[in-house]
């Protein structure tokens, strides 16, 4: 078995563009759940709106990359408001069901053939990144980093994505340590108490939805930009569930948590997959074929989610005292 290859793949996954996209979405979820206590199970919808907003603005309106980014952000902010106004007054578990339902409804809508002209139906959209990659100052070629090599565009999207993560992390660092962040944490603990102190809880929840949703929509853009394809099947419930696993792995009420959680999560998944594929190829796992190894990946996500919530709800980095589920 090629252990070196498995490790190379693992390391590549640590800083991969998809990992970065998930990390961004998980940071958004940290704002929703970790800091405000909102059980949002529709994060995939926010990411999808960023992705579709960007690609539709570029392909249908012919807008440049910066206007497209803005449009994607606006779409997800609008969704946060439309979804938030009716649902943020509901009980926490209702919110979970409504958000997951809204995300699924959105996925059905973008894959519907009646909107095919705009959304590309179930095929989705592709080749919308030219104006973005035109910004790439890195000369054409392959860049060898010892363990893996990247093309100039692959390198560029990684640099942009991880810079974005650092930027967002700093942004959240200041935000969560401000009096504004304190109100959010108060709402997470007990919204009636915060209400009795004269804070407009509903407005804060809505702001939290918008902030976390916008961050997730940036994640959605990174996600589709690396392959320049945006398909509705990307934005299923599995996407959201993986975000939850990442968030709970790292620690929900932390900023570093989702970042390291995402890296560890995808690194571990890739490592396990390489090892299992190696074992299958060596004939050590006769009951499995290569395709099933990919399915076992998802199975492990489920197992990880269960074990984390049961045995370590505060995650790797979380302070045990800082996060409890209020249920």
């Amino acid at each position: 078995m090629d252990w070196l290859n498995a490790l190379n793949l693992t390391f590549g996954e640590f800083i991969g563009a998809y990992t970065a996209a998930y990390v961004l979405c998980a940071l958004g979820l940290a704002v929703h759940f970790g800091f405000t206590g909102l059980l949002n199970f529709g994060q995939a919808a926010f990411a999808a709106l960023g992705a579709y907003g960007y690609s539709i603005a570029t392909l249908s309106f012919g807008w440049p990359w910066y206007s497209s980014v803005l449009f994607g952000l606006l779409c997800s902010a609008a969704f946060a408001v439309v979804l938030g106004i009716p649902t943020l007054r509901l009980r926490a578990d209702y919110l979970a069901i409504v958000t997951i339902a809204a995300a699924q409804a959105l996925k059905f809508a973008v894959s519907a053939s009646i909107f095919e002209n705009v959304t590309g139906g179930s095929n989705g959209l592709s080749q919308f990144g030219d104006s973005f990659y035109a910004l790439n100052p890195i000369p054409k070629g392959r860049y060898d980093f010892g363990v893996f090599a990247l093309s100039e565009n692959e390198l560029f999207i990684r640099i942009v994505a991880w810079s974005l993560i650092i930027l967002i992390a700093v942004f959240l660092f200041f935000l969560t340590r401000s009096p504004w962040g304190r109100v959010l944490k108060g709402i997470r603990e007990d919204e009636d108490a915060v209400r009795s102190l004269g804070k407009n809880v509903f407005s804060y929840k809505l702001q939290s939805m918008i902030v976390g949703g916008s961050i997730a929509s940036l994640g959605g853009m990174v996600f589709v930009m690396s392959s320049q394809t945006n398909q509705p099947s990307n934005w299923g419930t599995n996407f959201t569930f993986m975000l939850w696993t990442i968030l709970l792995l790292g620690g929900a009420a932390t900023i570093l948590g989702p970042i390291v959680g995402g890296m560890v999560f995808f690194g571990l998944l890739m490592f396990l997959q390489s090892v299992m594929e190696g074992l299958v190829n060596m004939g050590w796992l006769p009951f499995l074929d290569i395709a099933q190894v990919g399915q076992i990946r998802f199975l492990l996500v489920g197992v990880a989610l269960m074990l984390l919530v049961i045995f370590r709800p505060q995650g790797i980095f979380g302070n045990k005292k800082e996060l409890q589920f209020n249920g």
Partner: protein
Amino acid sequence: MSQLNIRAGRKAGVFLGVLAMLFAILSAGAPAKAADDPSTYAYTIAGTLLNNEKPLVGVNVTAQLDAFKASAKSDDSGAWTIMVPKAGIYNVSIDKSTLPAGVSFTKADGDKLQADLTQTDFAAVLFSFGKSTVVAENFGDQLIVRVWAGLNFGLLLAMAAIGISLIFGTTGLNNFAHGEMVTTGALFVWFFHIVVNLNILVSAVIAILLTTVFGWVQDAGLWKPLRKRRMGLNQMMIVSIGFSIVARYILLLFFGGDTKDIGGGGNIIKLGPIFTSDIALISLVICVLSLAGVALFLTRTRLGKATRAVSDNPSLAAATGIDVERIIRIVWIVASALTGLAGVLYGLQFQATWLTGFDILLLLFASVTLGGLGTALGATVGALIIGMIVEVSSLFIANELKYAAALVILIVILIVRPQGVLGKKQRIG
């Protein structure tokens, strides 16, 4: 949803062909040695080309993803298979020049379809030929047909939704793994009836029993210990999400990703303007009888009354000498038996995949939420409303948006009446 579309297609008499090839693939899935040998590819796209039930022979089908491209010709039965190397969404197209003269596609761009291999290793691609034979009916007749279908679907949903509702009522758990019990019901009846070749009734009984055991073991092995740890309800809800993923992918590993046809849709029966099948009629009767049985159980038996007492107030129920854990165990058994039965009936009518239960899970939650969380009657009413919305809405909007319509209506109703249609008014948020 796709299996529903397929069924609609069959009814219209246009076309059909599904292959259950997974076991062949599993046995053919030898370790990949030479990367370019197509016989070692792990993913399969397949289908059967039929025009008015007659096979189309020698037609060229091509699958393409990025740089990869592979073709196959349909055989004497119209069947074709393409092995592909990796996961992804493949564009599958037919070379029109190889079609026999006079054969055309139902839709203008019907020669280009997609195969989604992102989560499974097998995808069936169904090209449809010939004129669409959907006859223009008057609106009244169409409405009756849709209402009938809605009633049928709603009753099926109700059986599974009552399960969710009973469990929520007695334990407070929103169980996201409930859909998988629908799936086990459907897949087990397929396995025992089609693979083991047992009598359909025997298969159904075994499938329901196995699903009941699954529910019982699930409660005893997972939820009861978590209740003992006094885990928060939201936390348990997330555990149930994890558990549903685990259960779903285990089912995928064992049953494969292809669509299973069990009853073949049954024999068509005409009732006035309604075309229905014997299976649908029998299913309807079974649903009504089971729901009546649940209602009698809850209102007339000591056990049922105790169940409602636990739902109302567990600590008060415990104080009056009711063994709450025993009630919860019984509730799990009743709920999983009902849900397994719903799965069996669903599988017989609409075919089954590893995602069957997960696909309707949100409709189940929508039903329970609509009716008012935690009441069995509410779940039934909610399920009938959701079933109606799903089926009747397809008169006004595209068929592929009918689930979306139900979910949007759920959100709308929650704005107007957060406690649900029949729920007790309580302070929410």
